[in-house]
């Protein structure tokens, strides 16, 4: 019984919940904004890079592969710090929100490029040949025959990766982006209690569970009829 109340006191203190609810909600709003922006630009950029790679121009592809490998290998936190503290020395001053958005978009783009590229490669050669033999150009074949199939195949890995990367919006806290974790840690240091952090954790769950469910829905929805 004693542990029970100590636990509630440590993580679910009612007056703190009331006091910091607005701040956490503000953080939720910021997290949603960044996440939405990152998902959109990251996936679009990843798809664009995979399409460019399909043209198999050697020198361009070397650059794409180097980019994808570097941004998949580096911890996003390192990139966030590097860009945030490095760019001002070049005279480029970006708001911390923009830094987080750009870095996470690039990371997501790097992963998505590899996934979309694998999807494009997985489409049988016969599909290309059938389309080209009816007079479709390379670009038309890619657009109407290969990509629609490749994109469908890649929905599950893209969804997983997107969720993994958007969770990194929490890294914004180290450069002062007022997202969920930033609001929660600020509140924690003022109150000396972990309740705001628990509120942040719950907020992440509430935010991302629907995304996971939506991913599953898209996955079944996008699958074409198979035997």
């Amino acid at each position: 019984m004693e542990f029970h109340s100590a636990f509630l006191e440590a993580f679910f203190k009612w007056e703190l919940i009331q006091r910091y609810f607005p701040a956490i909600m503000k953080g939720v709003g910021v997290t949603i904004e960044i996440a939405a922006a990152v998902v959109f630009t990251g996936i679009c950029a990843g798809l664009a890079l995979a399409v460019i790679r399909a043209f198999r121009a050697r020198s361009i592809n070397v650059v794409i592969v180097l980019f994808a490998d570097a941004f998949r290998a580096l911890p996003p936190l390192v990139l966030v710090l590097l860009v945030y503290f490095g760019l001002p020395n070049l005279g480029i001053n970006l708001p911390s929100f923009a830094v987080l958005w750009i870095v996470l978009s690039l990371v997501l783009a790097a992963f998505c490029e590899e996934i979309f590229w694998a999807g494009i490669l997985s489409i049988a050669k016969g599909q290309w040949e059938a389309a080209r033999s009816t007079g479709l150009t390379f670009v038309a074949t890619l657009a109407y025959v290969v990509l629609p199939q490749a994109v469908r195949l890649t929905v599950p890995p893209i969804t997983n990766r997107t969720i993994a990367i958007t969770k990194n919006t929490a890294l914004g806290t180290v450069i002062g982006v007022g997202e969920i974790l930033n609001q929660a840690t600020t509140a924690q240091s003022f109150s000396g209690n972990a309740t705001p952090l628990m509120m942040g954790a719950i907020a992440y769950v509430i935010l991302f569970i629907p995304v996971v469910v939506l991913g599953r829905f898209i996955e079944t929805r996008f699958r074409w009829r198979r035997a």
Partner: protein, 253 residues
């Protein structure tokens, strides 16, 4: 080489001269000369690895020849000035593995090139596509996806996809090899129907019975060269060359 009687009067649809094709250092085609006259059905037979499929695939440049020339309806398809995409829509191709687009209905498969290559309005393209499906006896399957069709039906849709573009020449690359035996007949019947309609066809296949009753000419290919050619009765019953005889005996088993 023997000049074929059918060829003499009208200019050939397909005229291959000295065609060579190497993959790395392996020469797969070693100087092929072949003419196909309008409305002719030419059958290519030969052991596996003899270059049959490569020969066919050079005709629409799915494989790039390494030497020689190919003219389709008088146009040199190897020439720099030739728009190969424009030529390809006049050369229908049917593959062993059907290669239908799995994300599109039968109608969508047939209509795609009509819309995206010939720039027909969607409505008109679908009308033409439906007519093509009707020619292969599958208009009632227009809304079905490839996965919902049998192998024979899929191959007939693939034939309709090529037919819809009104090709001058149809290339068949082992069209029945991937089919269950009971489904072969439906595809061969469609090919017979095409022949009756005056389609010019170049066929790589192991369907010898079909070759006997439908082909105008049979070409026996071995090691990348034409060993013997002639009307089916001659090739199948009285082949002149030992290699042809051995091959015919092998497949007759």
């Amino acid at each position: 080489m023997r000049l074929n009687g059918v060829v003499s009067a009208t200019p050939p649809i397909l005229e291959i001269r000295g065609l060579r094709k190497s993959f790395h250092h392996v020469e797969v085609l070693r100087g092929i000369d072949l003419s196909v006259a309008p409305q002719e059905l030419v059958f290519i037979i030969g052991p596996s690895g003899s270059g049959k499929s490569t020969l066919l695939r050079c005709c629409n440049r799915l494989e790039e020849p390494t030497g020689g020339s190919i003219r389709i309806d008088g146009v040199d398809i190897m020439a720099r000035s030739t728009d190969i995409n424009a030529m390809r829509r006049r050369i229908g191709m049917v593959f062993q593995s059907f290669n239908l687009y799995p994300h599109m209905t039968a109608l969508g498969n047939v209509a795609l090139a009509l819309v995206k290559v010939l720039r027909r309005p969607r409505k008109e393209a679908e009308r033409v596509a439906l007519a093509a499906l009707d020619r292969v006896g599958l208009s009632e399957k227009a809304a079905a996806y490839p996965a919902e069709l049998s192998g024979g039906q899929q191959q007939r849709v693939a034939i309709a996809r090529a037919l819809a573009l009104e090709p001058k020449l149809m290339l068949f690359d082992e069209p029945t090899s991937a089919l269950d035996p009971e489904l072969v007949g439906s595809v061969l019947n469609v090919m017979r129907e095409l022949k009756r309609g005056g389609m010019t066809m170049l066929v790589v296949s192991h369907e010898m019975r079909f070759a006997r009753d439908a082909a105008d000419r049979v070409i026996f290919l071995d090691h990348g060269a034409i060993v013997e050619e002639g009307p089916p009765e001659q090739i199948f019953s009285q082949p002149e060359r030992t290699r042809t005889r051995a091959f015919i005996a092998d497949i007759a088993r």
